[in-house]
């Protein structure tokens, strides 16, 4: 087993990314899909920070990750508000049932 380096972090990130993607494509419930998106963003952040440590040794990657976290917070807030509105309209948050566009 080789010493932990860039590759280990990238593989971990890839694993978390596909798990997040799996949640997004297979779950019915909108809140769980949102959780999957958060996991994907975290996987991307691991990549940013790993590159900022091992490849480009200044803090660009970390700063990018900081802005990603902030955008994720804003996105989660708005997305949950939308989910609550869908629930109010349809009495369900299952995405396969939310197929009407008319208000």
């Amino acid at each position: 087993m080789m010493a932990v380096g860039l590759h280990h972090f990238l593989v971990l990130s890839a694993l978390l990314f596909v798990l997040g993607l799996l949640a997004v494509i297979t779950k019915k419930n909108a809140v769980t899909v949102l959780m999957g998106i958060e996991l994907i963003l975290n996987a991307a952040n691991i990549n940013f920070i790993a590159f900022s440590r091992y490849v480009d040794t200044d803090l660009d990657g970390q700063l990018f990750a900081l802005f990603v976290i902030i955008t994720a917070a804003a996105a989660a807030a708005v997305a949950l508000a939308i989910v609550l509105n869908i629930y109010k309209q349809m009495r369900s948050v299952n995405l396969d049932e939310a197929d009407t566009l008319a208000g």
């Binding site: 917070a73 989660a76 807030a77 949950l80 609550l84």
Partner: protein, 150 residues
């Protein structure tokens, strides 16, 4: 630097082990006589109606939402606060703009009543229900209690 972060991590593990050990000791010492009455959900002696996993007031969500936005703001301001002494006026003006923009959000939530919780109406009982009650028992109706404003 890693050592600095190892300490809290190990503290978490030790704290968990500490609780687990105590729970185990407690488990060995305690009597275990479960009965239907004991393991019923507590509802002041009544038999519980329905599950408690019910829907909640939307206000909880709105308050948490405002919290998340301001939490992010604090995270952004901490690095600024660390370097504030070195940077001076320029950084101060930037942050004043930053905070002012977010204060607009707070003012909006304030104005729209998102920060209000349902207020109990003081004096409602004395005004509406009490006179009728007094009348029923044949007592003299009293003046409503002076409303207390806080």
């Amino acid at each position: 630097m890693l050592l600095h972060f190892a300490a809290p991590f190990i503290f978490v593990i030790v704290a968990a082990a500490f609780i687990a050990l105590n729970l185990l000791i407690s488990r060995l010492l305690q009597p275990r006589v479960p009965s239907a009455g004991k393991t019923t959900t507590y509802e002041c002696g009544e038999i519980p109606i329905g599950s408690s996993w019910v829907q909640f007031n939307i206000r909880f969500y709105v308050i948490t939402l405002i919290f998340v936005i301001f939490d992010v703001e604090i995270v952004f301001l901490l690095p600024w606060a660390v370097v504030f002494k070195d940077l001076g006026w320029f950084a101060f003006v930037e942050v004043v703009i930053f905070i002012t923009i977010l204060l607009v959000g707070l003012a909006y939530a304030w104005r729209k009543g998102d920060l209000e919780w349902d207020k109990p109406e003081t004096g409602k009982f004395a005004r509406e229900a009490a006179p009728q009650l007094f009348e029923e028992v044949g007592m003299e109706t009293r003046k409503p209690v002076q409303e207390v404003t806080l």
